[in-house]
Symmetry: C2
Subunit: 585 residues, 2 copies
């Protein structure tokens, strides 16, 4: 009779069950708050919510009570009964439910459908499960405030979020995953490990890197520069503002205005803060006539750019308004393009591998509906990108028509230890800017030739990459990146002198060592260092002083005693040089 | 009779003579261009100028002709004759000289004075030398355009600049000095050595660092970071924009508005691009309660700031609109202030010494008329600065009342090889910001205590310091700073393979080596490397290939043959490690 319903996919079935769970939760709330007014209660990803107007604010203590009521309703296995009535009848029925009345007014049809289970009837299009017993595994997870219909001019309602799954195992698995994600949340760890801060009074989305976070960033940047110089990049610096006219010439003002900050005025000229570094790289390229023999030129810059993002979408370090791109632009002949792209792919893989990421998804985006350049140029460049990917033996998917208007691109998303995907390296061919700015070279025949321009980053931005690193390692950075690599803990004051000597020796060898000489117990100091996720703690007592040894405690909890200090030092130096990827969580 | 004139100082006499030279030049121009109209012709530092309206543009070829006429007039030893007439008579006399008429209208007195020598009479207050023979040693140096009265709405006149001195020796000495200064001009060398560029279309005063200039900057920055970390500074990063409100709280909006860029708008909030880094350092300090035990905290940042300077005063790298300060802020207890200031002095001297500067002038600026804080606070801090200077055995002058309103300061000016003084390190105590932002710590007694805040830079800014380095070394950077340290020059194509092997070996050891494999003569390649001021050229021919040796040519012109390549490499590495200050000009 109803084959469409029978053919539902697992995901559709889950959604229906989650929606039914919202109704059951509403019934439970109504039984506890008889004067409750109801907003809406949809299914969402992984679960459901319902918005209520109640006579008092809910607290987390309410959730177990509501949960118990829901479980009773589920146990009763009450059927969901559908009914159709006229809008006028509905207005009668919901006369004390102003939000429902508002919804009824907006329904274009003459009749509306209701769903009833037990003592609760809701205005609802459905569908629902057959009876409340079909709700298998749920958990109420949080309470939040939500304006009616998301409009801040409307009353603030109280929203209860729940999650629901087909089996108890699936629910547990999900809860474990979000607990793990919360534990690794870079905003939480950033605060706990004193890595960075964002200040409302200075502006949302603008990141201050504290000494410890800045240390990690500096090490990444130093490594980045070293690797780039070795691979033939030239590092440059360019300003953060430029005249508006430049962004009009480039087309940014026309196409990306929504992401640009409003202009500022200097001596009657309008300037904007740069949203990207490419134009300055072009200006440097163009300071003199370039011979084909000079190419490829690879200009790299750790360039800080500013783009407008609505404050609602800002998120820790991963979505910000000011960020430092590990940017580079390659100017090359078209016959060099394949080698250059292959080189960037190799570099991108090398960099992300070094930081401990092993799983990737690679996408090649091809010509969109609207594009600049000719179809032939696009075909040529896309073929070149494919050849480079094949040569580097990198598996990829094609994302048809998803290239930016100015050229085809390769995007690499890498996965962190918790399975979350991060936007990583990107390689984009650009047909637009070289044409708008007349970027060319003098060929072997003495004539002007067009030049290929490639935009690329291998980490993305320092901010987002740092977020991914924090979450990947759960804040326990590998030794080479750890802001503090060794904490030295003297057992008593008489051990401070020797401990200090060790600190100086470690520092002289470039190891970031700290001495904890506070008047606290050894256990307290170990706990402190453990919370700071310091890779090594050296416990120094009488035995260590007399034997020139150390007791080494790793943040994993392992401890080894009677290690010769020089041996310890050399092994730390080796771990740093080798960029050991130990995951010592 | 005229004792005042007799008592003139040497400088006043020179000024009078220079002014008379301007009149003589005007007479010479009039004799060549009878239809000339005259603007003004004052004495200036080192010489004089006169502005003319002529029927054709002057060219450098005109200068010898005018010079010859001036010499004739000097040889005639014509007397300067003063005369007073009424303004009405003057208007008659200068009826064909519109600029003079304008000047006459502005003279408040009824009578005006004229000076006449030979066939030329000028409206002039005087004084002048007795006769043209007293003009001893002059030279015409340049032609420039100049708007009448400096106003771009007025006609553009032609200005001839001359220099004049009391003796031929003094003139020659001066010419030699400006020739040397011109030869070392960082704008000229910056172009010739491909170090940086400034683009009118992007904005005046905004510097693009080309690969070679950026290499020097990067090495300076790396060294700077290394030294700061060793001395207990913590390096941080902060954004380039912040909400306007923060700059209102700090007082910058009130006191420095003329130097700030106009605000930009983001989501209804006004932001400005930061003119200084201090506020963000305060925000980081204030992210948690600080114990007296944590102090001193030394936050260091290579922070790029933007300040408005009129386009007329911008000058290469030394006066710009965007610059990177080698900034740091020290938060310490008042009983730590002397040690901290002494530490900064030590660091400042160490840094500038390392870069090869040996002569300094040190100024201590004391309390101005208007100040924040109490007279007692000023006295205490000024005494502390003096004690720190005395302790470091640094000779200094007091600049009374020249402190900034927020606290006393020490400024260090260093001298380059050509004797030019550069604004270098600065150390400022600040009583203002800690008070406005409530910067404090928790003392041993558990109560809140005020904290001393010190602003300091040791190089000033990367831009201005780079300008000083370029001029100090005349572009011939010492080996450790040279963008290219070694150029390898194969004599013939058959030597390229060996040359390339050497390049790779040098690069593997961190030496910036280049191979010049162009199809040019060895002499041409040597000339190229010489022009680029590369410290070492390796000439590779048959003998070198067979004996694993190199012929080393230094940019000084010295050449040594049959050097074992490993010996050469080790000596370059040593020069780099030791930061040899060789002045190989």
């Amino acid at each position: 009779m109803v084959p469409a319903r029978e053919q539902k996919t697992g995901e559709e079935k889950l959604e229906t069950m989650r929606h039914s769970a919202a109704h059951v939760m509403a019934e439970a709330v109504l039984s506890i708050f008889p004067e409750a007014r109801f907003g809406i209660g949809p299914a969402i990803a992984n679960g459901f919510y319902y918005d209520f107007e109640l006579t008092r604010p809910l607290t987390p203590n309410d959730l177990p009570v509501i949960t118990a009521r829901i479980n009773e309703i589920i146990a009763q296995n009450l059927p969901f009964i559908r009914e159709e009535i006229t809008k006028e009848e509905a207005r009668q029925k919901f006369s004390d439910q102003p939000y429902k009345l508002e919804l009824i007014d907006e329904i274009p049809e003459d009749k509306v459908s209701l769903y009833r289970q037990g003592g609760f009837t809701d205005l609802c299009r459905g569908p629902h499960v057959g009876s409340t017993g079909e709700i298998k595994a749920f958990r109420l997870v949080s309470i939040a405030g939500a304006y009616w219909r998301g409009d801040e001019h409307n009353p603030m309602l109280q929203r209860i979020y729940g999650v629901a799954f087909a089996t108890r195992e699936a629910l547990e698995e999900y809860i474990k995953r979000i607990d793990e994600a919360a534990r690794r949340d870079h905003r939480k760890l950033g605060r706990e490990l004193d890595l960075f801060s964002i200040h409302e009074e200075a502006g949302p989305g603008l990141v201050c890197w504290h000494p410890k976070g800045a240390t990690v960033r500096r090490i990444i940047e130093d490594f980045w520069k070293e690797v780039h110089i070795k691979r033939g990049y030239e590092i440059i610096y360019t300003p953060h503002i430029a005249k508006l006219g430049l962004w009009k010439t480039s087309g940014h003002w026309e196409f990306y205005q929504d992401y640009l900050y409003s202009p500022m005025e200097v001596e009657g000229e309008e300037y904007i803060i740069k949203p990207m570094n490419c134009l300055y790289h072009i200006l440097i390229y163009k300071t003199r006539l370039r011979s084909y023999r000079e190419l490829p030129l690879r200009y790299a810059e750790l360039g800080t750019v500013y783009r407008y993002e609505r404050s609602g979408v800002l998120h820790g370090l991963s979505r910000v308004r000011g960020f430092t791109q590990d940017d580079a632009h390659i100017f090359c002949r078209f016959d060099q393009l394949e080698d250059e792209v292959a080189g960037v792919l190799d570099l991108a893989m090398f960099m992300t591998d070094t930081f401990g990421f092993v799983n990737y998804q690679v996408l090649l985006s091809t010509r969109p509906e609207k594009y600049t350049g000719t179809a032939q140029m696009w075909q040529g460049a896309t073929d070149t990108l494919e050849r480079a990917l094949t040569r580097k033996k990198i598996a990829y998917d094609i994302d048809p028509g998803e290239g930016v208007f100015y050229g085809p691109k390769i995007d690499i998303k890498f996965e962190d230890a918790a399975g979350r995907a991060w936007q990583g390296p990107t390689i984009q061919v650009d047909f637009n800017l070289p044409q708008r700015f007349g970027v060319a070279c003098i060929g072997e025949d003495g004539k002007e030739q067009p030049v290929a321009m490639v935009h690329r980053t291998v980490l993305g931005s320092m901010e987002r990459f740092m977020a991914s690193l924090i979450e990947h390692y759960g804040g326990a950075f590998p030794v080479w990146l750890a802001p503090v690599q060794v904490t030295i803990i003297p057992v008593a004051d008489r051990h401070i002198e020797y401990a200090n000597k060790l600190k100086i020796e470690l520092k002289d060898d470039g190891i970031r060592a700290e001495l904890d000489d506070q008047s606290e117990t050894v256990n307290h100091k170990i706990r402190q260092a453990q919370l700071s996720k310091v890779p090594y703690m050296l416990i120094i007592g009488d035995k260590e002083v007399s034997a020139s040894t150390v007791s080494v405690r790793c943040r994993s909890g392992q401890q080894k005693n009677d290690i010769l200090f020089t041996n310890f030092k050399e092994s730390v130096k080796k771990a740093i040089t080798d960029k050991d990827k130990e995951m010592a969580l």
